[in-house]
């Protein structure tokens, strides 16, 4: 299939960027979206132009690196997948495709389609853990039975890949879905309950410092999240957070 691409090109963080047109021919419908970009880059390199920079690594929807805004949607038109899992068969011959980076104040562009998401790491550093040392001197794993339903819910929350689609989609650029996923995972497990309140406080505090917006419950994040992280988690975070602010006065 032949396509018209409109790709965001931006030399670096300080220079201004713009959409640039590229025509690309003979794309296999079986190729993935990123393989289509590989093809474009190959052509650009062989013709002496600068290839398009984009983040990617696993190319199977789990590392959370890829972060493209395709035709106005984070990770493109399909649901429950990342950009790297999007296949060209989702498009038609002759289509025009807009390709832009995830945009948010807290995700500044580094180059072309690559953005800086280290704000997510700093939120995790503020409290996304259980304070237990890795010495191995812990009790036997089965000494603490956990109801399957709780374990499964904690797992569902824990599958967040930290891609940032929720932020890029949200009109307020809020990171609530991302933060709530971690807070929920731990507050659903007895091991994590102990610090549940301080964790919520610290992570939310850091989220605010990083310049993410407020959550106004539009629910857009849940729709675009490739891992199906549910809004229930935000409700749980709100409970932990409110509980914490009340107890701390």
């Amino acid at each position: 299939m032949d396509l018209n691409l409109k790709v965001w090109r931006q030399k670096n963080a300080t220079e201004k960027g713009a959409l640039k047109d590229y025509a690309i021919k003979e794309v296999s419908p079986d190729s993935s979206f990123l393989e289509m970009l590989d093809l474009l880059n190959d052509q650009l390199i062989e013709s002496g132009e600068d290839p398009v920079a984009f983040d990617h690594d696993c190319r199977e929807g789990i590392c959370g690196s890829c972060s493209l805004y395709v035709n106005g949607e984070a990770h493109g038109p399909s649901r429950a997948i990342t950009t790297c899992q999007l296949h060209m068969r989702s498009f038609k011959d002759g289509d025009t495709i807009y390709i832009e980076p995830f945009r948010a104040k807290a995700f500044p562009v580094i180059k072309d389609l690559v953005v800086d998401r280290s704000s997510f790491d700093r939120i995790q550093q503020a409290g996304g853990f259980i304070s237990v040392n890795t010495s191995g001197n812990t009790q036997d794993a089965n000494a603490l039975p956990i109801p399957k339903a709780d374990a499964d819910k904690a797992f569902d929350a824990a599958t967040c890949i930290g891609c940032g689609a929720c932020v890029a989609t949200c009109k307020n650029a809020s990171a609530m879905l991302f933060v709530s996923a971690k807070v929920s995972q731990f507050s659903l497990l007895p091991q994590g309950k102990v610090e549940a309140k301080s964790r919520a406080l610290n992570m939310v505090h850091q989220m605010d410092l990083e310049g993410f917006g407020n959550c106004t419950n539009t629910g857009a994040c849940e729709v675009e999240c490739p891992k199906g992280i549910s809004l229930e988690n935000i409700a749980r975070l709100n409970r932990e957070f409110l509980g914490a602010t009340i107890t701390e006065g």
Binding site: D57, A158, T159
Partner: protein, 667 residues
């Protein structure tokens, strides 16, 4: 050169580790604060090591090329992690895990290291649960297990098809706690491009900030290489796009021996390739072999009809299907080890029974499991007159709960619904058992330089059993290195900070910038991928699943030629002082082009079949791999002396005192 000293402690196998820990140096907490440790890589091995060393009080600097430690390739591991917990009461034990791993590795690993791995395995699970890793559980609230290939017990712990993700996020959270406390300094989007050796000891690294392109010097008292495996030397593999050999190769060039480079795992259950555009291959976890049955049509004409689309697999009757693993290996059936399953698939496809357009695919069928689970679930739910449709529905739901994300992944890529029609699979490069040679302390032949995780060679011999890499990565990082590093660092407490203005740092930095400028200066005609693909093709065709002397000799020459052309004709746009993914790739491919040659030489040298290494010259009449213990019961450790063709082979003889050497049989 000195004889390779594995530093294996004396004494009975089950006492070695305890005794060793009693015998080695311990650094007191106040002194730990004076010691810098560099950790290259934040996968399971690196993240666990960084977190634990920081908790102990060392000052840690950790590096990864991704934008966050959480994105290391370990995140992609699917199926599970082994541990000898014997929770299922099926007679598992430390000894059995040790035995299975040595046998699975086709008797080419070091007994003492493997025993230690089995010994600490149970603790990993305790540790991860304490960290909040949400492993799968049974209704009673206890941990669930599944089986993996090559073993007869159920010892694999898992979190759906995302076990690696959950374990890595656990280790990442432990790292985050230490980063928050300032005990780990984390360098994202940084690539280590050389190790600096001063007076014979590793004293730091040269790294490139991938965003600004700045070359940086970092000094330390010890350097840990946790940079993962080098399967991408084949271009197509299940590894992440950025997985590379650079860190391991650079230390090799500075004195670290490289062991058994030819030991590669070709995983039997991957999605077959679909065309030239293919950039990587996708694994379908081995756990699927718990419930999936592997087959091809029994008659060639049926295979032919399927390939041309005239027949559907679901049209074939039972008697027209060849469940070749169950036929050839009745006692292990679909759960034979990976190397055996892969070769059997290749054998059927080469014989003309392959099932997709390319003829390189076999079926992995869940139909029987769906029906079986459906019946069970109907009974549990008290439905006694369930219709066939209801049973399928219930069965599919059970399969979904076990492998949902894998089925979804498959459907996205292949555009077929695996609940309704069998999956198509074919072997693909997946893991490298070979790697940097290390002693019992995980130290390389450069004092102060260690290698952990997939980057080292130590535990899996010539074939790794499923769910054992995650176990090894975490064992190395959480439970081995925190002890063994003390033995070396005990003598470093008076050294003081490592200066980075020494002539050795100057020289190393100059070499790094020299190589970058050279690459950028070529301005030839072809992209880096062009050369990488050519290398991959030679590797797959001649150094892949079946190898022979003629092909290997040709491969060596062809790789040299591609390397020459690469250095004359590669084209890298842009400059070195900006984010330049092509420049990053070029450096990695340059190293693959050297490693590839050594890899083929190693395969040529080892004129026996063992594990994943199959030499056509060495097989039984039935076509099974034939080991030659008399001549090849050693670790091949290569010393770099200027170029791969001049590397010198050193042998570490393997001793088997606790396990009897036998030809492997899964019949």
């Amino acid at each position: 050169m000195a004889v390779l000293d594995s530093k294996t402690p004396a004494g009975p196998i089950d006492k070695k580790w305890t005794q060793h820990k009693n015998d080695i140096n311990v650094v007191n907490p106040a002194n730990k604060r004076l010691i810098d440790v560099i950790v290259v890589g934040t996968g399971l091995a690196g993240a666990s090591a960084a977190a634990t060393l920081a908790e102990l009080g060392y000052k840690v600097k950790a590096f990864c090329y991704q934008d966050s430690p959480r994105r290391a390739h370990s995140i992609a591991a699917q199926g599970g992690i082994n541990a000898a917990k014997n929770y299922q009461g099926d007679n598992d034990s430390t000894y059995r895990l040790f035995y299975d791993t040595v046998k699975g590795g086709d008797y080419r690993s070091r007994e003492s290291n493997v025993y230690r791995l089995a010994e600490v395995s149970a603790n990993i699970i305790d540790q991860c649960v304490a960290q909040g890793v949400p492993f799968a559980r049974e209704y009673g609230g206890l941990l669930d297990n599944r089986s993996f290939g090559g073993v007869l017990v159920s010892r694999t712990f898992y979190a759906k098809g995302q076990t690696g993700q959950q374990l890595l996020l656990g280790a990442y959270s432990a790292m985050n706690r230490q980063i928050g406390m300032g005990r780990i300094e984390q360098f994202n989007r940084h690539e280590m491009l050389d190790v600096v050796v001063v007076d014979g000891k590793a004293r730091g690294i040269i790294a490139r900030d991938l965003v600004s392109g700045k070359i940086e010097r970092h000094g330390a008292h010890a350097v840990l290489i946790c940079s993962g495996g080098y399967g991408n030397v084949f271009f197509l593999s299940t590894n992440a796009m950025g997985s590379n050999v650079t860190a391991a190769w650079k230390i090799h060039k500075r004195g670290a021996y490289f062991a058994n480079p030819c030991y590669t795992q070709i995983h039997p259950t991957c999605i077959p390739r679909s065309g030239e555009h293919q950039s990587k291959l996708t694994l379908m976890s081995e756990s699927l072999r718990n419930d999936g049955r592997i087959w091809v049509p029994a008659k060639k004409e049926d295979a032919e009809a399927i390939r041309t689309g005239k027949l559907k697999p679901t049209d074939l009757k039972e008697e027209d299907r060849d469940y070749y693993l169950e036929r050839r290996y009745p006692s292990f059936g679909n759960l034979v080890p990976r190397d055996v399953a892969s070769r059997a698939a290749k054998e059927r496809c080469d014989a003309g029974f392959g099932v997709n357009k390319t003829g390189e695919a076999v079926y992995l069928d869940f139909d029987a499991a769906i029906t079986r689970y459906g019946h069970e679930k109907a009974l549990v739910d008290g439905i006694h007159d369930a219709s066939e449709q209801k049973i399928r529905e219930l069965g599919e739901a059970v399969i979904e709960s076990k492998y949902g994300n894998l089925f979804q992944m498959y459907e996205k890529i292949v555009d077929q619904n695996p609940y309704k029609t069998p999956m198509m699979i074919y072997p693909a490069v997946h893991y490298t058992m070979g790697g940097v040679w290390v002693d019992y302390n995980l130290m390389t032949t450069i004092p102060g330089c260690y290698a952990l995780g997939e980057a080292n060679f130590s535990d899996h011999g010539a074939n790794r059993l499923g769910a054992s890499a995650l176990m090894q990565g975490l064992a190395d990082g959480y439970f081995v290195i925190p002890y063994t590093i003390g033995d070396y660092l005990g003598d470093e407490i008076r050294t003081g900070p490592i200066p980075t203005d020494s002539p050795e740092f100057d020289a190393a930095e100059k070499e790094v910038t020299g190589q970058l400028n050279k690459l950028l200066g070529i301005q030839g005609k072809h992209s880096v991928d062009h050369f990488h693909k050519r290398l991959g093709k030679v590797m797959w065709d001649k150094v892949g699943m079946a190898r022979n002397a003629k092909g290997l000799n040709e491969a060596i020459e062809e790789i040299k030629q591609i390397r020459k052309e690469f250095w004359e004709d590669v084209r890298i746009p842009g400059s070195s002082n900006e984010l330049n993914p092509e420049l990053e790739k070029a450096g990695r491919v340059a190293d693959f082009l050297e490693l590839g040659e050594l890899f083929a030489r190693d395969a040529l040298e080892r004129n026996e079949s063992c594990g994943g290494h199959f030499r056509e010259e060495s097989q039984t009449e039935e076509g099974e791999a034939l080991r030659d213990d008399k001549n090849f019961s050693y670790v091949a450790a290569w010393e770099y002396t200027g170029e791969p063709s001049k590397a010198i082979l050193h042998k570490e003889e393997l001793e088997f005192k606790d396990i009897e050497l036998k030809q492997r049989s899964y019949k």
